[in-house]
Symmetry: C2
Subunit: 136 residues, 2 copies
DNA sequence: AGTGCTGGTCTCTTTTTGAGACTACCAATC
DNA sequence: GATTGGTAGTCTCAAAAAGAGACCAGCACT
């Protein structure tokens, strides 16, 4: 099989999936992608892929997130089914966040992207520096 | 080899990469991820993976992007080395945007994520509907 | 009685994004 | 010759999202 043609077909299919065949207002793929492409979503999913964490632990783990955004991002991740929220009736009550099966399955491709970022951040930073040096 | 242990190690390594071992202020992986996790970045990369496009073509292709955000997202993608911008001296001058080698290499893991989204958007929408029905 | 820990919410300010008018140039049309 | 249309943007102002920090209730410990 000609892998070039295969790749082009794959690209076109994915592009169509992402554009919903022209119906941009109601594209499920974009909807899903936007849900996980927020500023903090991927970082929290990466953290919870390691192990479950409590609210305060996550806050200390990611010191530059505001409490407000931590609440809201966890809420959104829970709403979309990536994260499970469990309240333990301790005093004071503690809340544990963990990945669901859906969250774990999404973690796999996300991992690929993070791996790519790890391998290529030098190239990206180099490109940025070169661009800025040329007074883009 | 125990694949469970391998996976845990992989997770921990990636989590460390994403948190830069505690140095959150200067983490190259988060820096790269945030550069491609904007609202329009992934969509434009997917479009340009199909073939090069001109500014106006992209604007018509993605009708719900504002001209301002199209300009800025393409600028950012160019600055980070994902996109090449070429001006042709026609009248009026036309500008073509295409993926660089770096952009194409980033497209591969991005593709995995979009594929996941395509396969799982029903689950996500279902989770969201169930959550909202429970008056979250 | 005061301090600290829990997981948040509320308000205010700053940043980011969106909507739409406006630019300059040229070609073809009316 | 004036109008219209297409090129790739920029500029300004309004709306939405994000960040900073105060505040809350309840209980434990000192």
């Amino acid at each position: 099989m000609d892998s070039k043609i295969f790749n082009l077909k794959a690209k076109l299919e994915l592009y169509k999936a992402m554009t919903n065949g022209g119906n941009f207002a109601d594209c499920p793929v974009r909807d899903v992608i936007q849900g996980i492409s927020g500023k903090w979503s991927s970082l929290l999913v990466m953290a919870l892929a390691e192990k479950p964490y409590r609210f305060g632990e996550l806050r200390r783990l990611v010191p530059d997130i505001s409490q407000r955004m931590l609440t809201q991002t966890l809420y959104d991740l829970q709403r979309d089914g990536y994260v499970h929220r469990e309240v333990f009736p301790t005093k004071p009550p503690s809340v544990e966040y963990s990945l669901t099966d859906l969250g774990r399955s999404m973690f796999l491709p996300l991992q690929q992207l993070v791996q790519w970022a790890e391998l290529n951040h030098d190239a990206v930073r180099g490109a940025r520096a070169a661009f800025d040096a040329a007074q883009g």
